[in-house]
């Protein structure tokens, strides 16, 4: 069932995306002109020949856009063509010299959407390659990250929901534990990581711990809030039927508080996915967070953007799954 309002909003989204891409492309696109050749005067060529730089090398270097000042230095340093090739070639030598003749280096500009698109295509078409322990396809990396998130998050849910019930059902526990929750809740994963690494002594477990500790709080507070907010009439009805506390919790409070609890779980999965990037940057080796750090290390912004896109899409899918769950437990009074 497609409503006209859905079509309109989709069209608007598409238009926003397209205009963003156009602006991005226009501001970052640099035409690939190749090296701008340098024209040397007779005199300049002569002085280079005098310093025994071969004629063919002079012509080649000038065609690669290396200015006369640099050529003179190359000649006086007696750098042979072989030495220059061993050092990455003349273009790389000339390109890094501030001079109006040289175009900016590829690495020094923000990547255009076309370049990002090319990288995106490469990663999507080859998601499972393994080129060594520190370089694997995005499919594998996302798999690692998802596994970490699922383990850490499940542990957090296993602790947060029962504990949330306890806090929600007992005002005393609520008041006693509240200061701890309020202090621990805002601590960033980046702060937990070194502590975990030091005390747990294993980076893999540390990353799980960080996901656990950061995704715990929204579930805990939401469960407590939901449980405490269940209408007292319903609990009174349960009491008149002489239900045990445990059965009351399971058959009356749980369905009543479920929408709030699932909202907490939905916030938590978002946080768990946010945390994974920080945790994996520090742990290293595998995961999409590591990929971001690794590409940053090489200052490859184009591939970093691709990794960020993947993180965003995965986050959206996880959120959508919980939105579905939310609809399933919703009820109308």
């Amino acid at each position: 069932m497609i409503r006209p309002s859905d079509i309109r909003s989709s069209l608007l989204s598409l238009a926003i995306l397209l205009s963003l891409l156009v602006v991005w492309q226009v501001t970052t696109h640099v035409p690939e002109t190749g090296p701008v050749g340098v024209i040397l005067s007779q005199e300049e060529t002569g002085s280079l020949l005098d310093q025994s730089m071969p004629q063919e090398d002079i012509v080649y270097y000038a065609s690669q856009g290396v200015a006369f000042t640099q050529l003179k230095q190359i000649a006086s340093l007696k750098l042979s063509r072989e030495m220059i090739d061993a050092a990455g070639g003349i273009r790389a030598l000339g390109i890094s010299v501030p001079d109006e003749n040289t175009a900016p280096t590829p690495g020094s500009l923000f990547p255009s959407p076309v370049r990002v698109g090319v990288e995106l295509w490469d990663t999507v078409t080859d998601p499972f390659y393994v080129a060594g322990t520190n370089d694997m396809g995005y499919g594998i990396q996302i798999g690692y990250s998802l596994l970490r998130v699922i383990i850490g998050y499940t542990l957090a849910a296993a602790v947060a929901i029962p504990l949330g019930f306890l806090i929600g059902m007992s005002p005393l526990a609520y008041k006693a534990l509240d200061p701890f929750i309020q202090v621990l809740k805002p601590i960033s994963p980046l702060a937990w990581m070194p502590i975990a690494l030091f005390t747990i002594g294993d980076s893999e477990l540390s990353s799980l711990f960080v996901i656990f500790i950061c995704s715990l709080w929204p579930m805990l507070t939401n469960t407590a809030f939901g449980v405490a907010g269940v209408r007292s009439d319903w609990i009174n009805v349960a009491r008149t039927h002489e239900l045990s506390t445990f059965r009351t919790a399971l058959t009356v409070i749980l369905p009543a508080a479920a929408p709030t609890i699932v909202t907490g779980m939905r916030i938590s999965i978002g946080i768990a996915w946010l945390v994974i990037v920080a945790a994996e940057m520090l742990v290293g080796g595998t995961g999409i967070g590591y990929v971001v750090w690794n590409e940053w290390n090489g200052l490859r912004l184009d591939r970093m953007i691709v990794a960020i896109l993947f993180i965003g899409v995965m986050g959206m899918l996880l959120d959508a799954a919980f939105a579905r769950l939310q609809r399933a437990v919703a009820y109308v009074e």
Binding site: G88, A92, V97, P104, T105, A131, G201, G298
Partner: protein, 475 residues
């Protein structure tokens, strides 16, 4: 200079030291028949291949047994021709069985599956390139190398036993052993993985302000507190009359962030490891003000570190691991090795950098960002012997800036923390076993005074030296 001296090349001396000192021929293949030259070129090209490397060492000893001197070997090769000589020697001495015998010696390894940590910088060339080019496998080791986000994480993973050994900064095993900035756990400097290899980079706007006296208020980045970078930068600005803790600001910034920070003018400059110095030039955001080798020739930089516990529990593995890293270090120092290592380290699995930058760094032919092209072959050097002078300087400088809080006997402490003697013995044994291998630094005086920024530092007088230095926190 060259690591690979082919015993089948009639043009060069392989065993004769005097011949080496006189300098080899410009073209080692001059005057040979085209077919022979092609065979030799091919052998040279494959000399970094792991399986070939050991065979070459064995060939050399076989040839030495046959001919004794370079003169008779060269004469024989000239008259017989390279290809027939190769065939003749192979029939007399089956090299493959010799190779098997050599492999026997590698048994009794306590541990063959090892994990080493590295921070993705060119200083780690022997450790990274050693992996890419298969140096560990030659000694029967199955090594995983793990890229690590920064020095603090590296230290923590060493301390909690996730890494069997690691690429560390020279002062780190010392700080770890003394418990400065972490819990105390005895670690040792086994060998230098590089010397030199750092630079002071400034933002382009400071092109006309290159006198450190005018740097009051500058913000500098260094990769870690317990680093040669920090100590050298402090020493440099202090000599120019600036107090590094008050007149300038020194921040700890992970190397990959340095270029971005320089671009956004968050910092005025940094003293950092390559590739991030050359990367600033490549990205046109900064220039190289000074290579640190101009402050101290052959200064230490990064090391290969092992814990005392590991060394005690795995003596044979330690020996095999040290040997493979020393061999990779020697190979990285050669001119062919420099190019091969640069190419092998560029992929995402290792340094993840454009290969041109790595080649510029390793060959020492590079633009400095000030409009000059430089040729500094020892911009990064691979001299593996960690000397006592280096150890005493680092310890005494840590005291000078109050990282170590009380005076101590730096020379004695360095004896304990820097494995000079063991490593030197290993280097000597390797040179005896393999005539192709040279360590130019093996026979140096390890207590020799060093010239650091024009001052003479003697390890025995370390305390007086730092007491007399400006801004010393010892007084």
């Amino acid at each position: 200079m060259t690591h690979f001296k082919d015993p089948f090349n009639p043009n060069i001396d392989v065993w004769n030291e005097c011949g080496e000192a006189a300098g080899g021929p410009a073209d080692p293949y001059a005057g040979l028949p085209a077919e022979d030259a092609a065979i030799l070129r091919d052998r040279a090209k494959h000399s970094l291949n792991p399986e070939v490397g050991m065979t070459r060492a064995l060939e050399s000893s076989v040839m030495q047994g046959l001919f004794k001197t370079d003169i008779s070997r060269r004469a024989f090769l000239r008259s017989a021709g390279v290809s027939s000589a190769l065939a003749a020697v192979a029939t007399v001495f089956p090299l493959s069985s010799l190779q098997l015998m050599a492999q026997e010696a590698m048994k009794n390894l306590e541990k063959t599956k090892l994990t080493l940590g590295f921070v993705p910088i060119t200083c780690a060339t022997p450790i990274i390139g050693g992996h890419a080019l298969g140096f560990y496998e030659r000694y029967g080791l199955d090594v995983d190398i793990v890229k690590t986000a920064g020095w603090a994480v590296s230290r923590d993973k060493c301390l909690n036993g996730e890494y069997d050994g690691s690429h560390l900064l020279f002062p780190m095993p010392m700080a770890m052993s003394l418990g400065i900035g972490s819990t105390a756990q005895p670690w040792k400097v086994v060998s230098n993985v590089n010397t030199n290899g750092q630079a002071i980079v400034l933002a382009n706007k400071h092109l006309s302000n290159q006198d450190p006296k005018n740097w009051r208020g500058f913000k500098f980045a260094v990769p870690f507190e317990y680093s040669m970078h920090n100590l050298l930068l402090r020493n440099y600005v202090a000599a120019a009359g600036l107090d590094p803790d008050r007149d300038i600001q020194i921040r700890v910034v992970p190397p990959p962030e340095m270029v971005a920070n320089l671009r956004s003018e968050n910092v005025d400059g940094y003293l950092a490891p390559d590739p991030f110095c050359q990367r600033a030039v490549y990205d046109q955001v900064g220039f190289i003000h000074k290579l640190t080798l101009d402050l101290w020739k052959q200064h230490p930089c990064c090391v290969f570190g092992l814990s005392e516990k590991f060394i005690g529990e795995n003596p044979n593995t330690t020996m095999a691991l040290t040997t493979s890293i020393l061999e990779a270090t020697a190979a990285a120092e050669t001119s062919e090795g420099r190019v091969a290592f640069a190419e092998s380290m560029a992929p995402a699995n290792y340094l993840n950098q454009p290969v041109e930058i790595l080649k510029q760094i390793l060959t020492g032919v590079f633009p400095d960002g000030q409009g000059n092209i430089k040729n500094v072959p020892d911009r990064i050097s691979f001299m593996p012997l960690p000397t006592q002078t280096m150890g005493a300087w680092v310890l005494s400088q840590l005291r000078r800036w109050n990282y170590i809080e009380s005076d101590t006997n730096y020379a004695t402490l360095a004896e304990d923390l820097v494995m000079t003697t063991t490593t030197r013995e290993r280097m000597r044994a390797m040179m005896v076993a393999d005539a192709n291998l040279t360590f130019p630094d093996a026979e140096q005086d390890v207590y020799a005074p060093a010239q650091i920024q024009g001052e003479e530092f003697a390890p025995s007088a370390a305390q007086q030296f730092i007491d007399s230095q400006p801004f010393s926190r010892t007084l």
